[in-house]
């Protein structure tokens, strides 16, 4: 369960979010819509703890963030990229020497299979298609075992078919995995189709729909 109350965020002295309050229940997909520059990315990054809040309260469980441009390491395989999601719970030397624990490797393969990339585990990220990269990024987020998934415009650069596949995957992770999903989208038709609830952000404020 995610709860945000009166969140205020300023970037470089400029207030970007003005008192945002929202909640996302387990198993629920909430879409945040709004034009570019409305503050969607900042909201997600603040919830993920990547930017500090000036005021307000965020009550969030462990959080995994799916970035807009997938943020995969291009020269690493899909599997190694997914394993990056496990770094928070394993030490330094084994990953540094590429001696990933067997259990983590198996889990990474399961995460890749979950997003339909089981057969491409060994493929370098820069040899994957746009849709495959975004699904690998979702698999990396799954590897974090976080109950809250934040996705920042995860389909912005995808064709309609791949966009639908990625959003259906997020929808499924909420419905069948019990995760809370908060996804920034700028296509209202996709939000209508895949989200339980839609919120609209404009100039850093949530608008009533």
């Amino acid at each position: 369960m995610l709860r945000v109350e009166g969140l205020v965020v300023a970037l470089q002295g400029r207030r970007v979010l003005h008192g945002i309050s929202l909640a996302v229940a387990p198993g629920e997909v909430v879409a945040i819509e709004g034009p570019s520059g409305a503050g969607k990315t900042t909201l997600l990054r603040a919830i993920a703890g990547l930017v500090p809040a000036e005021a307000g309260r965020i009550v969030a469980p462990e959080t995994a963030l799916v970035f807009q441009q997938h943020a995969l390491a291009r020269r690493l395989s899909a599997r190694d990229n997914v394993l990056v999601g496990a770094l928070g719970r394993i030490g330094f030397w084994r990953p540094a020497l590429r001696l990933w624990p067997v259990a983590e490797r198996a889990e990474a393969m399961a995460c890749l299979a979950r997003v339909g990339l089981g057969a491409l585990a060994g493929q370098r990220a820069d040899r994957l298609s746009g849709g495959q990269r975004q699904r690998a990024a979702v698999a990396r987020a799954l590897m974090q075992r976080a109950p809250l998934l934040l996705a920042d415009e995860p389909v912005a650069s995808l064709d309609p078919e791949n966009a639908a596949a990625v959003l259906a995957l997020l929808r499924d992770l909420a419905s069948h995995g019990g995760r809370s999903v908060l996804v920034a989208l700028h296509q209202p038709e996709l939000a209508r189709r895949y989200a339980d609830r839609r919120l609209r952000l404009e100039e850093g404020r949530l608008c009533r729909r």
Partner: protein, 248 residues
Amino acid sequence: MRRLAGLLALGLLYGGSLLVVQPDLPRLWTGLPRLAHWLGGAVPPDFSGLPDLLRRAAETVGIATLGTTLAAAMALPLALLAARPVVPLPALYHPARALLDALRGVDGFVFALIFVAAVGLGPFAGMLGVALHSAGSIGKLWSEALETADPAPLEAALSAGASRAQAAAVVLLPESLPQLASVLLYVWEFNIRASTVLGLVGAGGLGQELKNAVDLLDFARVLAILILVVALVLTADRLSALLRRRLG
């Protein structure tokens, strides 16, 4: 006003340089016949005792290769400390940068001179000299490569709970590998060139033979050594360029 200040600074630089160097064209003119006489005496080049020359060439390659490798080992931790995305702590970042600048600021030739005094004549001193200077160059170039790498995968790793050390080892270093390897090859190639003169201070390699030949005014021998130096440098240059292309 700024242009005037720039011109003034340039004038001072050139004026000062001319004052201290005192170029003397008539002296060059009178020296030319001597030079021509030596050049005449240098042909044909004297390749006698080729195995000895080749052994010296091997020393040069060895000095450059081991020196560059040792330099890389020293440079890696310093480069990581001097790369802001890895260590965003000014208390560590600035001293690491300063140390790299200091190492880079002293030529390998000077370091070799010091090591000859410390560990005696021979290629070992040359290798240590090359290593110390190159550690500064490699570290500096590596830290810059790490700083210009795509920050997104690093940020993704950090947001997934990785420590900065983990994120650097697992994501940033593999991502930057082509750039890091390219720097290493470039410095190795540079060191082959630099190592050919280390012999002048008794630090082994072809330079040692070159100094002996010049001291004896044996210009046929000098030419033979120069031909070997050029061949060595060109081979290293081509090999390095080929490998760097493949890395890209």
